[in-house]
């Protein structure tokens, strides 16, 4: 019979304060098969580990049970110690008598009794443990970054800097994302383009980086270290290799009525366009929804004026397949739609704008050339009202329950810039709270109030009424004065809540990466693994994980890159041997396991089996890709015939544990 060693940890007073550890060791030591049982103040310490190693060697133990903290804490420590003595590390079991016992109980007798029961269960389990060996898989030394905003750009640059090739997939014709649309950035007020465009150019020039613009990820298979990704390169009707970005076509195209999406529809562009002057790649794209040639074959002006012969009306979407070791999601955010907030008259009056629209209205490359003018009549606004938390912190079924985090700061920036440029303009900011945690952030907001004379009012705007004379009546609360204010404004700016880009949800499905109820990607651990998805090999960068400003995004982008580099630097990945496997003789081919597998690790294959009287039977049976399986066990529960089982957590082991607890 297998000899088992039991080691009970005091964890200082963490366990020993509530559990009589000596009694636990004594009780477990009497069980059949237990060759040694001891307790020690800190099992995880050097001397504690030595005690375990000595016992394994001297008593020739075939299994070890440690009664201590959660296996999340020290399972790896104890497995390593066992392996050092030549014992297969998967013959070590942990009974969690801290988190699941001493920390949650007060009564010493009860807690001691529970510790003994937990120990018994672990002993029964370890008796049925089989030595396991983790498999290895190679790593493709190339990373994929999905999204070419500041998050994706920074991640790609950092990975390339370490010497690994990176591909950026961006759905728009140019990289740059939301940051390219911004005017100035807080809290230093440097111009967004001046700090972003050098990074965009760096991406284009870095030979380790390939940019797939106007492209989308359409299929992902494989697993950490070995992803196989299909990228759809949307037809832009312009040959990227020929186009020089001279812009001749964008000036001659006769279709002038296309809403300019880069300027958020505040002005128009042509059907063939380059989103902005510093676009990367600087290549024209034809908007198929508006191009007369593509719609009815009548035009062809751009092809005529193009000196490079780059226009190709017959271009089709193409698909390319690439292999990657790691994937970074950097899909970013967008402001929410304000169509359900009728009280603010967005959509009723052109002079009610979102903050992102205001960025374009104040940007030198924007529709007004950087002069702040009312969109309705092009006049200079003398009173500007900012409304905070539009759709943020809402539980009204229309907005988002979270704080969008960036609005307080960018509104302070807007207010300050307007006061700086137009001292004759009065600026009111209606706030619920002003939230400015961050280095030099509160000082920045106070500067808006103290130096620039921005009127901050605690209270919400209840209604914005467009008047026949073109002005806007703003009815709002001034909670400090306990008054209802009626202001006549020329321009109202709404700080719309941010939400994840809608492309994130289908991408999460492709990546089998988890999301929260707001469609933000979930991190593997909110504090300790903030840039990793729970899906191995998938990393998170920027606002797709939660609302964040530029400094935070860049920091997170670098952190994600570091994790990717750590992965790509490995030649081989050691897998987790605790994975599912199917008993082909029991499998009835029902597909239940395939349907519940959240990682896509199970597929079915036709196999030949020997039938009666020398016949050959063909049957459909489940097969598990051990490299993809995360060992969650969903399939073992779903399987109606009991064919699915998990190494290290087999059905018989779990039943034995239950038996030990109930006995």
């Amino acid at each position: 019979m297998q000899k088992i060693g039991v080691f009970v940890c005091h964890c200082g007073t963490n366990i020993a304060g509530t559990v009589d550890v000596a009694a636990v060791a004594e009780a477990l030591g009497k069980l059949p098969g237990v060759a040694v049982a001891a307790d020690y103040p800190y099992m995880c310490s050097e001397s504690g580990q030595k005690m375990i190693r000595d016992a394994i060697r001297e008593k020739e133990l075939g299994g070890v049970v440690i009664c201590s903290c959660s296996p999340r804490m020290h399972e790896a420590t104890f497995r390593k110690a066992a392996a050092a003595e030549g014992l297969n590390p998967y013959l070590v079991e942990i009974a969690n008598i801290r988190e699941q016992d001493s920390w949650i109980h007060r009564d010493r007798a009860e807690a001691t009794e529970k510790a003994i029961v937990l120990g018994k269960a672990a002993i029964e389990k370890v008796k049925r443990n089989a030595p396991l060996t983790a498999g290895e898989s190679p790593v493709v030394k190339r990373a994929l970054v999905i999204g070419g905003g500041i998050a994706g750009i920074q991640t790609a640059l950092d990975i390339a800097e370490a010497g690994f090739p990176v591909d950026i997939v961006e759905k728009e014709p140019t990289i740059g994302g939301k940051m390219a649309q911004l005017d100035k950035t807080f809290p230093t007020l440097d111009c967004a383009a001046c700090i972003l465009t050098p990074k965009m150019v760096e991406c284009a020039q870095n030979e380790k980086i390939r940019i797939f613009s106007y492209s989308e990820v359409s299929k992902v298979s494989g697993f950490v270290g070995n992803f196989r990704v299909t990228i759809r390169r949307k037809a832009r009707y312009v040959d990227e290799t020929k186009c020089t970005g001279c812009g001749e076509c964008t000036e001659k195209c006769p279709q002038k009525k296309v809403p300019n999406s880069f300027n958020l529809g505040l002005d128009n562009r042509r059907a063939i366009y380059i989103p902005f002057a510093q676009a990367v790649p600087k290549v024209a794209t034809i908007d198929a929804d508006w191009c007369n040639m593509l719609k009815n074959g009548k035009c062809g002006v751009c092809a005529k004026v193009c000196g490079a012969g780059a226009i190709d009306y017959k271009q089709k979407d193409t698909f390319i397949e690439e292999e990657y070791g790691a994937i970074v999601a950097a899909t970013g955010f967008r402001p929410i739609s304000l169509s359900r907030y009728e009280e603010y008259a967005y959509g009723l009056s052109r002079d009610v704008v979102t903050s992102l629209e205001l960025e374009r209205l104040m940007n030198a490359a924007g529709p007004t050339g950087g002069t702040l003018l009312r969109p309705s009549d092009g006049k200079h606004p003398h009173t500007v009202v900012f409304v905070q938390c539009v759709g943020s912190r809402c539980e009204d079924g229309k907005g988002k329950s979270y704080c969008s985090k960036i609005c307080c700061m960018y509104t302070a920036k807007h207010a300050m810039l307007i006061r700086e440029k137009y001292p004759d303009t009065e600026v009111y900011v209606f706030t619920i709270d002003v939230r400015t945690p961050g280095k030099n952030f509160d000082e920045f907001y106070r500067r808006a109030v103290e130096e620039y004379g921005v009127h901050y009012i605690k209270g919400m705007v209840g209604k914005v009424l467009p008047e026949p004379d073109g002005s806007l009546t703003v009815r709002a609360s001034d909670l400090i004065a306990n008054e209802q204010l009626k202001l006549s404004a020329d321009l109202v700016v709404l700080a719309a809540a941010v939400e994840p880009d809608p492309s994130a949800r289908p991408l999460a499905t492709l990546l089998t990466a988890s999301m929260d109820t707001n469609d933000f990607f979930t991190e593997a651990h909110p504090k300790l693994r903030p840039v990793e998805s729970p899906t191995a090999g998938v990393f998170l960068s920027g606002a797709c994980q939660g609302p964040k400003d530029i400094p935070e995004t860049v920091a997170q982008a670098g952190a994600a890159a570091a994790k990717v580099i750590g992965l790509l630097a490995k030649d081989k990945l050691v897998g987790n041997p605790c994975v599912a496997h199917s008993d082909e003789m029991l499998c009835n081919g029902c597909s239940s396991c395939e349907k519940v597998c959240p990682y896509g690790a199970i597929h079915y294959e036709e196999k030949e089996f020997r039938g009666p009287n020398r016949t050959v039977l063909k049957r459909r049976v489940a097969a598990v890709n051990a490299a993809v399986c995360q060992g969650c066990g969903a399939c073992t529960v779903a399987c109606p015939s009991g064919a699915m089982d998990l190494h290290g957590f087999s059905n018989s082991q779990i039943m034995a544990e239950v038996d030990a607890i109930c006995r």
Partner: protein, 126 residues
């Protein structure tokens, strides 16, 4: 007797703890100028249990029940329902127990719908 805070909350179905004190209700109220206590104060005063002051204030009759505050509250607090609950409590208080079960047989009239009697019970609380 002025009803307790708990009773007002029960009648109205409002959870005053959800209020984040943004003042949007008072920013939107068309009857604001007519009121001694404004919608955001209503929520605050009920939360603090100051029902008596509210019940004595003419403000409760100034609310138009237009429900603009209910419609626009970002937290779904529904101030108008609170005001309605206080108003109801005061109206129910007036006249006290005008109808007791003992009175019914004397009042019973074959032409009187039974619902009228039930309604009378509902209006005047003990």
């Amino acid at each position: 007797m002025i009803p307790s805070k708990e009773e007002i909350l029960r009648i109205s179905g409002v959870n005053t703890r959800k209020c984040m004190k943004c003042g949007k209700c008072s920013g939107t109220c068309p009857s604001y100028e007519e009121m001694e206590y404004h919608p955001h104060q209503f929520v605050d005063m009920v939360e603090k249990g100051e029902i008596e002051r509210l019940a004595a204030s003419p403000s409760i009759y100034r609310c138009l029940s237009c429900f603009a505050c209910v419609e626009r509250c970002p937290r779904g607090v529904e101030p108008a329902k609170l005001i309605e609950a206080v108003r109801l409590a005061v109206i129910r208080e007036q006249g006290k127990d005008r109808l007791t079960p003992d009175d019914i047989s004397a009042l019973a009239d074959p032409d009187l719908p039974q619902q009228a009697v039930v309604t009378a019970f509902r209006k005047y609380r003990k």
